[in-house]
Amino acid sequence: MVNLNQYPPKNGRNYYLALGLEGSANKLGVGIVKHPLLPKHADSDLSHHCEMEILSNVRDTYVTPPGEGFLPRDTARHHRNWAVRLVRLALKEAGISDPSELDTICFTKGPGMGAPLHSVVVMARTLSVMWDVPLVGVNHCVGHIEMGREITKAENPVVLYVSGGNTQVIAYSENCYRIFGETLDIAIGNCLDRFARTLRIPNEPSPGYNIEQLAYKCKNKDCLVELPYTVKGMDLSMSGILGYVDSLAKDLFNKNTKNKLLFDSQTGQQLVTVEDLCYSLQENLFAMLVEITERAMAHVNSNQVLIVGGVGCNVRLQEMMASMCRDRSNGQVHATDERFCIDNGVMIAQAGLLQFRMGNTINDLAETVVTQKFRTDEVYVAWRE
């Protein structure tokens, strides 16, 4: 049993307040959450039933022009430009006039891009010193998991974490989110983003979303463009697939009629469209993700899946996962919508507040140094049994 109430809220209140700051990639998110102080949390395993209330959840995304990715320097500049304004807005939406009422300020310690992470932690430290509120450093991946658990109430799911920087299949065991499978090279979101760049489609609202929409428009769904399928046990690799589909797209744009996959060798007629490529890429990549997830489920004997991370909003991925689960006894899929799937401040506040309630706060600002590498399984998950 776990006692989440051993560190009571500030000023004798019967609820906790946490501010979460996220800026590990191109989204800057600020969220404020509230946990009621409930007797049931003193002796239970209910870290996914905190009865969390979201007081505010604001976000600003750094969007680059079509064909361009976001660079660390520019992203950090974006975050610096917006950070203070977003915190002001979040406090206003939450109706908090005196920020020293906050129990904790949670920031992303890693993993992510160094410069953007750093730009946010500088503000977090300043706020902490000014308001005299303790800091909590949160692992970005654990933030996604805890957010997903609280929103969906999935008790002990196998987690598929799919985003621009990560692709991991995770299951909890003995105070640790263990990684059962992961990408051996690039992340799924990175693969989709880079293909979107090759296609020069807009990065607004997100490159992956636009690929998803193009895939829906594919008129030739029976005829899949064959791509490499690179699952290795519970791991997968995606850089080869990206390289290959990129080369197909380039041949398509350059009207390279010598490519017999894309053009009829007799008439030179185009056989494959951009929409077909998007459809085939998604079908191929997602089949790989679902397969490794199913393998992990069989391994740990679980029948629940929780999909988190930006790519988790993809409806086709959710559908495929649901289809896999239907064929397993009592299989269930849990997913969240874009408010929570995509990086946000609330997830950092949620995971951070759990850490805070277990007494895991920062005493010395020297412990707030952010880190690009920070594996999910390095975190001691004190708030679960």
Partner: protein, 268 residues
């Protein structure tokens, strides 16, 4: 197990071939049957009598609805073919014990193999290594266990020496079969198997087995793993200088894999 999957294979095999499901993994379902795919049915035994000694295993890769039909077809064929090929090749290697391949239908994802093992006494279950070690938990370091584990290591050594890797070496994937009153270990389930000259793959194989032993038989794991490695080394030691060098490389990588815990460190 989903009834739909069972119906799927029952329809494929027809009612002439009765099947009993024994396990379901993520990728395949395993059944037993007493019908041989092409030998004439023995008139004396009824096809519905599962107690007869001639048993066969059918490993079936069901159609996965979540993935596109053409991906599904390609994968089923590729993997069934791959597993059949590797089984066929391994059974040619002197000294190596794997189940004999009887028939394969790559388009329908179905392979027939020889049935190995038996039910252990006192309801300890099927005679895979895992249950066998449980059975001996009251006398964990007896001679029989030691001999068996050395033989297990020897089998893995042979596999690796011939540049094959198993890909999913767990204690459930080692089946013990009685041969003249002795337990002979057989490696089964080569669904993730491959030919590989990489020390990395071999190191991971050894690590995965070590973890499996530790997680299910933790109190005796140190000794058990020592015996397995004793058998493993003996294969390489018999191969002279070249063998010694290769073994050194594998053991070094094994140590590295153990330190980093299978996974390499990755940028966030």
């Amino acid at each position: 197990m989903s009834q739909e999957v069972i119906d799927q294979i029952a329809a494929y095999l027809t009612s002439n071939i009765p099947i009993v499901p024994i396990s379901q993994g993520a990728e395949a379902v395993v059944f037993t049957t007493n019908v041989h795919p092409y030998e004439p049915i023995n008139a004396k035994t009824s096809p519905n009598d599962q107690s007869t000694k001639t048993k066969y295993v059918i490993k079936y890769r069901p159609h996965k609805k979540y993935r596109h039909p053409s991906i599904d077809r390609a994968l089923t064929k590729h993997r069934t073919l791959g597993e059949s090929k590797i089984l066929a090749k391994l059974s040619q290697l002197p000294g190596l014990h794997v189940p004999k391949l009887i028939a394969t239908d790559v388009y329908n994802g179905c392979i027939w193999i020889e049935f190995l093992g038996e039910d252990l006494p006192d309801s300890f279950g099927f005679s895979n290594l895992k249950n066998y070690l449980w059975m001996h938990a009251s006398d964990p370091y007896c001679d029989d266990v030691k001999k068996t584990l050395i033989k297990v290591g020897h089998q893995i050594g042979l596999l690796h020496w011939n540049d094959y890797c198993h890909g999913d070496l767990t204690t459930s994937n080692v089946v013990l079969h009685q041969d003249n009153g002795h337990w002979e270990p057989y490696l089964i389930d080569f669904g993730l198997g491959s030919t590989s000259t990489l020390v990395e793959d071999k190191g991971v194989d050894l690590y995965v087995l070590e973890r499996a032993i530790i997680s299910t038989h933790s109190r005796f794991a140190a000794k058990y793993n020592e015996w397995i490695m004793q058998g493993f080394r003996s294969v390489y030691e018999d191969e002279g200088k070249k063998g010694q060098q290769k073994m050194k490389d594998i053991l070094k990588r094994f140590e590295e894999v153990r330190l980093r815990g299978r996974k390499r460190s990755m940028l966030g």
